[in-house]
């Protein structure tokens, strides 16, 4: 599976770079990340991932190579868990654009196990949604850090797991369901909830 794209951070490259190497920030913005530590130059952590009907814990290891200060690196991800495994390499490149920073990523991922065979048709859109949400979260953090006055500690902004899951689910739905149907489904869901409240209140 190829995943490529770009994203614009509303902060200077130096701030983005710092955040990209900080396990605390990364753990906060990655979906379902329960732990992320820097051990012997590698980021080691645990990730709870949900793709379609498949859910489970991954043990992951991220190694950075070809690190060029404030310019980019190559990331190798090796994640394994009961629902399957993920193996990926990603090239990340940063380019300053005035006060903003453009990030380009180009990843090649191999996903296997139950997560691939059962959630196959949801993997692409789930992966894109997870990346998008992670980058949004990262941007919020980078912006906050850039605005923190000298000498003060930056507060890590972290979305709750359920908030994150909802946003990812919305992204996936956008990807899979055409807009007119989506509206119809939302209307249907609202009517259903209304009916349920009515019935319960009787």
């Amino acid at each position: 599976m190829k995943l490529a794209g770009d994203y614009k951070f509303e902060a200077p490259t130096s701030e983005v770079w710092k955040a990209l190497l900080d396990p605390v920030v990364l753990a906060a913005v990655m979906p379902g990340c329960e732990k992320l530590e820097l051990v012997d130059g590698a980021y080691v952590g645990e990730l709870n991932i949900k793709v379609g009907p498949v859910q489970g814990k991954f043990q992951g290891k991220v190694i950075l190579a070809d690190v060029e200060e404030e310019k980019g690196y190559t990331m190798t991800v090796d994640g394994r868990g009961q629902p399957g495994f993920v193996k990926a390499t990603a090239a990340v490149k940063l380019t300053p654009e005035g006060e903003e920073t453009k990030m380009e990523y180009d990843a090649d991922a191999q996903v296997g196990g139950r997560i691939a065979s059962v959630g196959q048709r949801l993997i692409d859109s789930s992966a894109r949604a997870i990346i998008k949400e992670s980058l949004e979260g990262l941007n919020a953090n980078v912006k906050a850090r850039a605005n923190v006055a000298e000498g003060e500690e930056a507060v890590v902004i972290q979305a709750s797991q359920s908030e994150f899951a909802t946003r990812v689910a919305k992204e996936v739905a956008k990807d899979l369901i055409p807009p007119p149907v989506r509206t119809a489904l939302i209307v249907l869901a609202l009517v259903g909830i209304g009916a349920l409240i009515y019935l319960l209140s009787r």
Partner: protein, 811 residues
């Protein structure tokens, strides 16, 4: 276990009369009154009241006191080294009793490997590496199904991924060796040939026209409603193993279990209760069965294992997966003269097909089909890949589906190439009825046939000529309509003991009939119904022979402690083998009944004649004894010097296979914008010889046609380049429903088998074999004028749409 040697197919000489010219009729024979309900009656199925009321008894319905549950940890990799298995977290869970690994099975007496039915070997549980995705890695035994399912998530296996080899052509290059346990480091398993190479080459040298085509018959799955499962119940005091199991061949499985486990065979009882569909998928022995039995042996408690749907789809035996390269030659008159076929059989990680031992490519050499030609030569190579093992005969008699698809596609291609109508081309190339007894270029002696009769009937049913006119008019308007024909010949009922065995056990089958004093009967068989209706049809066969009402005959199968030994039900063999055994056993009973009747009537044996349900004195029909009176006398007043009782058993060794046939015609309309193929009409004329129960035959044909539609348009097991199964649920593996199925229009001709005691041939698989090429031929027929020569099945809308786009018909 020895590796299969390279081999060339030979057929033993058959007795005279096993292939003969037999007249064809249209009418089902009925010789017994309604109350007896012998052959030809549309008797409602005796087994249905319990099925439609939800009172069937399947393996998962078996609940024994103190029963434990098993679940299996499966590999997420298609090919990987196992560095370690850490089950400590699982073992700490409440309710988890044991985790069984390959090492445990090895310690229990080298049970980590088992033989396959093709004399290859297959891992039960791995020690050092896995060779296919979803392979069994270890098993958890727990006090509930839920705990077992939770516990498998707590087993941590450290894998070191190895390169997968998914494409069999790549596998033949031996860059990645799948089975490094073997002495020879190659993925090539066997090479097999049939027919005469030199004669075929010479026919091709003299040919006026040669057509060639490559085709792939995709890997599919039987996807029966009931998945596989077992309840193993080892009694340590009695040293007795009782097994409930989804088995199409309980006796053969008992013998395999005895040989593998070392438990004496008389201490093993296998019970195959009601089965929710087998279709060949419940013939092989799966690792899960062996682990479950070992778990019961170790714990001394009953252990239940039932696969879930995804396990069933991903790990159980696949079917088909043949890569075919075919060439057909025609002489200057356009008559088919020869066939040359090379095929690569992707076996997965073990040769675990269920073919007769001498036939590693099954009965694939039937591939000259219904056509008379001078010579043919067929070669098949078996190859290992890092995919699940299998190659089962999915509702077909050992690779006949692949053979029929190839010959029916090639015949259509040749007809189109020569500019001839595919129906007329078939009619002038068929083996004619007056050519019987007939021996095919690859050595088969077809028992009987009338191919033109079946095709003419099918053409009449839908007014073929008018449809061709309509097609011309539509084509002129730019509309896409196609007509496809398949005039298949099946080969079923394996088989004569000279040539047919599985692991050395000859492929006879058996029946035992016991008539009780009050004239009611119990009949037991070595076969095992999985929905075919044996309880009804076997009773009708016996009713026809003995005049006992079919309702007075209880049919029982599947318990190895009570049923006579047999090889089971698959490959449409029940009626040709066990059905024949029922007739022979009934005739033994009848011979004894005659003696008893003579004794009761105080006449000589020769003075008696049989009349439906009684022996009567010739010329004096009032003087008679019914079968019920005779049965009573057999226990109360039998002649002195004669054994009491009225029972018989027969092990029937068929003198030849049977060759059912038929002609199917499919009419399709194709949507130019979407590539969607709509089946407008589908006419199926089947000839399965004498019919035992027309209603059951029609049900079999309708079900079989739907299972033929499935691979033609929907089903395929897909792997990515790393060997990951991408079709592991019914969301991605598309089984057709009533919505996708057209109205099936059935017709029949009856050309009895000359060697079967009641002239029957078997029918369960003909429609699955015959339907796919009819559909494929119809689609290609609609697109031939656009330059389309062949489309691999499944024919999905995207495939057709791309062809239309390339031809400039749509954008």
């Amino acid at each position: 276990m020895p590796q299969l040697d390279d081999r060339k197919e030979h057929h033993s000489e058959l007795a005279e009369g096993v292939s003969a010219r037999v007249p064809t009729t249209d009418e089902v024979q009925i010789k017994t009154p309604e109350k007896i309900c012998g052959m030809g009656h549309r008797k409602k199925r005796k087994e249905d009241p319990r099925f439609i009321q939800g009172k069937g008894n399947y393996v998962d319905d078996v609940k024994l006191p103190g029963m434990l549950y098993m679940d299996i940890v499966r590999s997420p990799y298609a090919h990987a080294k196992i560095n370690s298995i850490d089950a400590s977290a699982a073992l700490e869970m409440d309710g988890v009793l044991a985790v069984i690994t390959g090492e445990d099975l090895k310690a229990a007496g080298d049970l980590h490997w088992m033989p396959t039915l093709m004399s290859d070997t297959q891992m039960v549980l791995p020690i050092d590496k896995v060779v296919y995705y979803a392979q069994e890695v270890c098993a958890v035994i727990a006090t509930s199904r839920y705990i077992a399912a939770d516990a498998i998530e707590q087993v941590f296996v450290d894998y070191e991924p190895l390169d997968a080899v998914v494409d069999p052509f790549e596998a033949m290059k031996d860059k990645v060796i799948v089975r490094d346990d073997k002495e020879e480091k190659t993925n090539h398993i066997w090479h097999w040939e049939a027919g005469d190479k030199a004669a075929t080459d010479s026919v091709f040298n003299d040919a006026a026209t040669i057509v060639k085509e490559k085709m792939y018959i995709p890997r599919i799955h039987v996807s029966s409603i009931e998945t596989c499962g077992m309840v193993a119940n080892y009694n340590k005091v009695r040293e007795h193993m009782q097994i409930y199991m989804t088995s199409q061949a309980p006796h053969a499985h008992r013998t395999v279990f005895a040989l593998v486990s070392g438990i004496p065979e008389h201490k093993i009882q296998i019970i195959s209760p009601d089965i929710g569909g087998g279709f060949g998928g419940k013939v092989p022995v799966y690792p899960g069965y062996v682990i479950c039995a070992v778990a019961s042996l170790v714990t001394g408690k009953p252990v239940k294992w039932i696969e879930d749907r995804s396990e069933n789809l991903q790990a159980d035996s696949f079917a088909r997966d043949y890569h075919i390269e075919a060439e057909m030659a025609a002489d200057k008159d356009g008559k088919i003269s020869g066939l040359r076929v090379k095929t690569l059989s992707d076996c997965g990680a073990a040769d675990a097909a269920a073919n007769p031992s001498k036939f590693p490519a099954g009965l694939y050499s039937i591939c000259t089909g219904s056509y008379d030609m001078k010579a043919a030569h067929v070669e098949v190579d078996g190859v290992y890949t890092t995919k699940p093992p299998g190659g089962v005969a999915y509702r077909c008699s050992f690779r006949v589906t692949e053979a029929v698809h190839m010959i029916e596609r090639m015949t259509d291609i040749m007809a189109h190439e020569l500019g001839e109508d595919p129906a007329d081309y078939r009619l002038r190339n068929f083996i004619r009825p007056d050519q019987f007894p007939y021996t095919s270029p690859t050595g088969w002696e077809y028992d009987s046939g009338n191919y033109e009769g079946a095709l003419n009937k099918a053409m009449d049913m839908l007014d073929y000529r008018a449809l061709r006119e309509e097609q011309k008019e539509k084509r002129a308007k730019g509309e896409l309509m196609g007509i496809g024909i398949s005039s298949f010949t099946e080969v079923v009922g394996a088989g004569p003991s000279k040539d047919y065995d599985i692991l050395g056990i000859k492929m006879f089958d058996s029946a035992e009939i016991r008539i009780h004093p009050t004239g009611k009967a119990m009949a037991r068989f070595g076969t095992k119904s999985q929905g075919q209706g044996h309880e009804t049809t076997y009773a009708q066969i016996i009713a026809e022979q003995l005049g006992l009402p079919a309702d007075d005959i209880e049919v029982e199968e599947g318990d190895t402690d009570t049923a006579p030994y047999g090889l089971g039900t698959y490959a449409s063999r029940s009626t040709p083998t066990a059905g024949a055994a029922a007739v022979m056993a009934a005739r033994k009973i009848k011979a004894k009944a005659k003696k008893i009747a003579a004794h009761l009537l105080e006449v000589g044996d020769d003075d008696l004649e049989w009349n439906v349900d009684r022996f009567q004195v010739k010329g004096s029909p009032d003087q008679a004894k019914t079968i019920q009176e005779i049965a009573f006398a057999a226990y109360t007043n039998h002649p002195q010097g004669m054994e009491a009782g009225l029972e018989a058993v027969d092990y029937y060794d068929p003198p030849n296979l049977t060759f059912p046939f038929g002609s199917y015609i499919c009419v399709v309309d194709i949507d130019k914008g979407t590539g969607e193929v709509k089946i407008r009409r589908f006419v199926a004329v089947d000839d399965c010889g004498h019919i035992i129960n027309p209603m059951i035959v029609e049900g079999q044909i309708e079900g079989g046609l739907t299972m033929g539609l499935a691979p033609a348009m929907f089903e395929e097991i897909v792997y990515d380049e790393h060997g990951q199964n991408l079709t592991g649920t019914f969301a991605d593996y598309l089984v057709p429903t009533a919505v996708e199925s057209p109205k099936w229009e059935l017709g029949k001709t009856i050309t009895p088998s000359p060697h079967h005691p009641i002239g029957a041939k078997g029918v369960g698989e003909s429609p699955t074999v015959g339907a796919p090429p009819a559909i494929a031929n119809a689609v290609v027929d609609a697109l031939w004028h656009l330059g389309v020569r062949h489309i691999d099945i499944p024919i999905t809308p995207p495939k057709v749409w791309k062809l239309l786009r390339d031809a400039g018909v749509t954008d």
